[in-house]
């Protein structure tokens, strides 16, 4: 169910009054959220619900166990019952696959055996096993559904290149929407519990509502349990001001998605679908269009998710903080997909050693983190190359101490302004080169796009006018946000100004939305 669809509008219109009725009772509210979230997610394919339920059941117990808390039989039963109920519900749908019952039953049996086996182990060991159970389950699901064909295909290609004739077993695997997001969120909660940074509570209802919270289930932000989970354990505030600001945030996200991203998408698609036939002007327009598309697509989704959550009284973290104002690659990553950047920092970069252990180790850690960050985005070597590219430029910036030099320059002096403007321009060029790797279907396509950019043909105003017209309002808003220091530009200022801006936004949404609801790019990740 897409946020930008009539089905979702109907869904929310039916859900919201019910939510208002039971919002003061935590248990009832969370049960309603679970039902709504499973309906929302199951709309794509009810079979995927089983995966969400597996992750929920396992991580509910794993977080308790990893935190050193006792895992009573009552909770084991609740957890198993939840998984069985969802599995039955999924199998009752029109798109059922009976064979799915077998791995669910097998998985439950294995989990039960592990639980029995570690029951008498010392607490330190037991906590570790619980953590391992969570990691194995979540990463196992991710590895199978997202990377199985990629790894098998790559291994086969390697063996063939070495002269060993191998044949890859290729499975027809559907990638469940948002798999990388909710598995990462689940892992972070269990790891935080293990590290005693977060204390998990005994309520599978609360946890299941958190785990499947529909505003951010399929494309994040990847929330931390420490921030979002306590909100599911209390009655959330609700007033008109909160609802209005949530609605405006949702509307702004919708604008980013259906007015900007979906309208520039054809310009980018034309270039990346057949790069060989493009002039330099068209190629540059296509690359810039994709840079705009992916930002507005993903930032738009995040804003919609935050807006919806706020309408329900929940606070979801900021995921984008004006990344295209970044002056260095590392600053870009502090502003782009913040929830993923922080996840990679806290659960990969720092455990690998982070900045400790010398410069070379730091560079190695940075490269590993960015490579895996690239792979997280998709099962393709172009994504790995994109990660490697970003890792490399960050290493170079750190090795040459460019970050600190830019940080030290003063913006208000002429020299400082020139340095900062030049570093911004260079960073944006690097980011765009990265987007070429990210969007291209093959390395050959990426090379063709890059080669096209160095020609001098086809620089017409027509190629850029649509792009400029669509980008202009966004640029004005972002400059205002930057100057005012407030990302939420529609909730402050005189009433008539806010009202006029909201009215303009509504009219623009109706008048200039791209035809046909298009999926969000990040749903595939």
């Amino acid at each position: 169910m897409l946020f930008n669809s009539a089905v979702f509008a109907l869904f929310f219109a039916a859900f919201f009054p019910l939510y208002m009725l039971c919002r003061r009772r935590v248990m009832a509210r969370n049960l309603l959220l679970i039902v709504a979230s499973y309906l929302f997610y199951g709309w794509w394919d009810p079979r995927f619900l089983i995966l969400v339920a597996i992750s929920t059941s396992v991580d509910y117990l794993a977080a308790l166990g990893a935190a050193g808390k006792p895992v009573p039989g009552k909770d084991l039963l609740k957890s198993a019952l939840f998984l069985v109920m969802v599995t039955i519900g999924s199998l009752a749908s029109a798109r059922r696959d009976w064979w799915l019952a077998a791995p669910v039953a097998g998985g439950m049996l294995v989990a039960a055996l592990v639980i029995v086996a570690v029951k008498r182990a010392p607490e330190r060991v037991r906590r570790k096993y619980w953590l391992l159970l969570s990691l194995t389950t979540n990463l196992g699901i991710l590895a199978f559904f997202k990377y199985f064909n990629f790894f098998v295909g790559s291994a086969t290609a390697l063996l063939n290149a070495l002269g060993l004739h191998a044949q890859a077993p290729s499975l027809s695997i559907l990638l469940p929407v948002g798999l990388s997001f909710y598995t990462f969120q689940a892992i972070s909660r269990t790891v935080d519990s293990y590290k005693l940074r977060y204390e998990p509570q005994y309520s599978i209802i609360n946890y299941a509502a958190f785990h499947a919270f529909f505003p951010q289930l399929v494309a994040g932000p990847i929330e931390r349990a420490g921030h979002l989970m306590p909100q599911f354990e209390t009655v959330r505030p609700f007033d008109r001001r909160l609802f209005t600001s949530g609605t405006l945030l949702f509307a702004w996200g919708l604008y980013q998605k259906i007015v900007i991203a979906d309208n520039v998408a054809p310009i980018a698609n034309a270039v990346f679908n057949s790069p060989a036939n493009q002039t330099a002007g068209a190629t540059l327009a296509g690359v810039l269009a994709f840079a705009l598309q992916i930002y507005c697509d993903f930032c738009g989704y995040s804003n919609m998710a935050r807006g919806l959550a706020r309408c329900l009284g929940f606070d979801v973290m900021i995921n984008f903080n004006q990344p295209y104002f970044a002056r260095t690659p590392s600053e870009f990553w502090q502003r782009w997909h913040i929830s993923l950047s922080r996840w990679l920092r806290d659960y990969l970069y720092i455990p690998l050693g982070g900045n400790r252990g010398g410069t070379l180790r730091m560079y190695r850690n940075l490269m590993i983190t960015m490579l895996l960050g690239g792979l997280w985005h998709g099962a393709s070597w172009t994504f790995v190359a994109w990660g490697a590219f970003h890792g490399s430029i960050q290493v170079i910036y750190r090795a040459l101490r460019i970050d600190s030099a830019i940080e030290a320059s003063r913006f208000l002096t002429l020299r400082g302004f020139a340095i900062q403007a030049a570093s911004w321009a260079v960073t944006m060029c690097l980011v765009c080169v990265g987007w070429i790797l990210f969007r291209s279907r093959t390395f050959g396509d990426a090379v063709t796009v890059l080669r096209n950019l160095f020609a001098t043909t086809g620089y017409t105003t027509a190629a850029f006018s649509t792009l400029a017209a669509l980008a202009a309002p966004l640029v004005v808003v972002e400059i205002y946000q930057r100057a005012s220091g407030r990302l939420e530009f529609m909730t402050t200022g005189p009433f008539l100004m806010r009202y006029t801006v909201a009215l303009s936004l509504l009219l623009t949404l109706i008048a200039f939305s791209a035809p046909g609801g298009q999926e969000f790019i990040y749903f595939d990740f």
Partner: protein
């Protein structure tokens, strides 16, 4: 305070639309008819304003776009041609003297044929509504020749109107009437304020067009289901998908078969009463020099039985980057040059008409009962 805010909102929105998304203000003077489909409001007189043209419309008392009334019996020696079509035949964005019907009549008379062209077209019509208008009303005027327009939108229009359906490959009547939103429109048209807003407000036009588009999409979806086209999620759809058959393709095939059956029904009825039947293909505009026709999608059984006017080649030949054959800022209908080409192509096909040959050399006597 609330009223002030409402007034401000409306004025602001009107200004916003005029600046950023200027609309062609084209009010629709449509009502329900006794024969169950839409018709032009008799005696209505209104204007359309687009960035390219300002056009006056006058509808006679019989609901035809004409500057006179017609008697049911034609004058002796005069050949009567009845046009049934949508906005292209009606002459949207065209002054009366530049409509297809008026130009055809002028050219035929100039060629020595005592012809009289009656324009029964109504904007938004599909083939099913054309047939119903002919069966219940148009035939009374005793036409010698009946011409239907054909446009790509007819595929969807015929599904949407749900006047006919295919049952085991046979065309059968599904509903007696199709009057979408006519009741609402009739009620509103009683108010001068509404007529003023409809005639002048770009905001109203904008909202109405968006609303119509959504309603049309929903109706097509509903009618697809009624026609038995598998919808996503159905077991049939899954089977179709597993057979590598695109669901849209199934819907597309159904639409084609339905339109073909309606055209053949029209052919049978018209020809069996001793009249001649023609179809004029209206190509769609892709760009100023490129056009597309969908009539070729219809089965060979239709195209071989019904004489079709095919202006695609003539339009393509006449097209130049500096010449508009279709308007580009309104609703995309023919310019006078485009209509001239269509008329010439139609005249060429009608040259072989036996009924018209009988009127050749006769003095053209109008059977109009009164001039308006």
């Amino acid at each position: 305070m609330r009223i002030a805010l409402l007034v401000y909102s409306v004025l602001f929105a009107e200004g916003f639309i005029r600046i950023f998304d200027a609309q062609a203000v084209m009010p629709r003077y449509i009502t329900g008819t006794a024969w169950g489909v839409r018709g032009n409001i008799p005696y209505s007189h209104y204007w359309h304003h687009t960035p390219e043209v300002d056009v006056e419309y006058r509808i006679n008392g019989q609901g035809l776009r004409a500057n006179r009334e017609y008697s049911l019996q034609k004058s002796p020696g005069t050949c009567r041609i009845a046009l049934f079509g949508d906005s292209f035949f009606f002459g949207l964005e065209a002054d009366y003297q530049n409509t297809f019907g008026s130009l055809l009549e002028q050219r035929l008379r100039g060629g020595g044929i005592a012809a009289e062209v009656l324009n029964f077209a109504v904007g938004g019509f599909g083939t099913a509504e054309m047939l119903q208008t002919y069966e219940k009303f148009g035939f009374k005027f005793n036409p010698d020749i009946v011409i239907f327009s054909w446009e790509s939108s007819d595929f969807n229009d015929n599904v949407r109107s749900a006047l006919y359906r295919l049952q085991n490959g046979r065309l059968e009547r599904a509903n007696a009437a199709y009057l979408p939103a006519v009741g609402v429109q009739d009620s509103l048209m009683h108010y001068a304020v509404y007529r003023f807003v409809a005639d002048h407000s770009q905001l109203y036009t904008f909202v109405r067009e968006r609303f119509n588009r959504i309603v049309k999409q929903q109706l097509v979806g509903a009618q697809k289901a009624a026609l038995g086209v598998p919808q996503a999620g159905d077991a049939d759809a899954d089977r179709a998908a597993s057979d590598d058959t695109d669901i849209d393709e199934v819907a597309h095939r159904n639409k084609i078969q339905l339109s073909a059956a309606i055209l053949l029904r029209a052919q049978d009825e018209i020809v069996s009463s001793g009249r001649e039947f023609y179809v004029v293909d209206i190509p769609s505009r892709l760009s100023r020099t490129e056009f597309a026709s969908t009539i070729g999608i219809l089965p060979e059984s239709v195209r071989s039985r019904i004489p079709v006017v095919l202006p695609l080649a003539a339009l393509t030949k006449a097209a130049r980057p500096d010449l508009k054959l279709y308007y580009e800022k309104g609703l995309g209908h023919f310019t006078p040059t485009g209509t001239e080409i269509l008329v010439e192509e139609t005249r060429g096909v009608l040259n072989s008409s036996a009924r018209l040959a009988a009127c050749r050399g006769q003095s053209a006597t109008s059977s109009a009962v009164s001039a308006r």
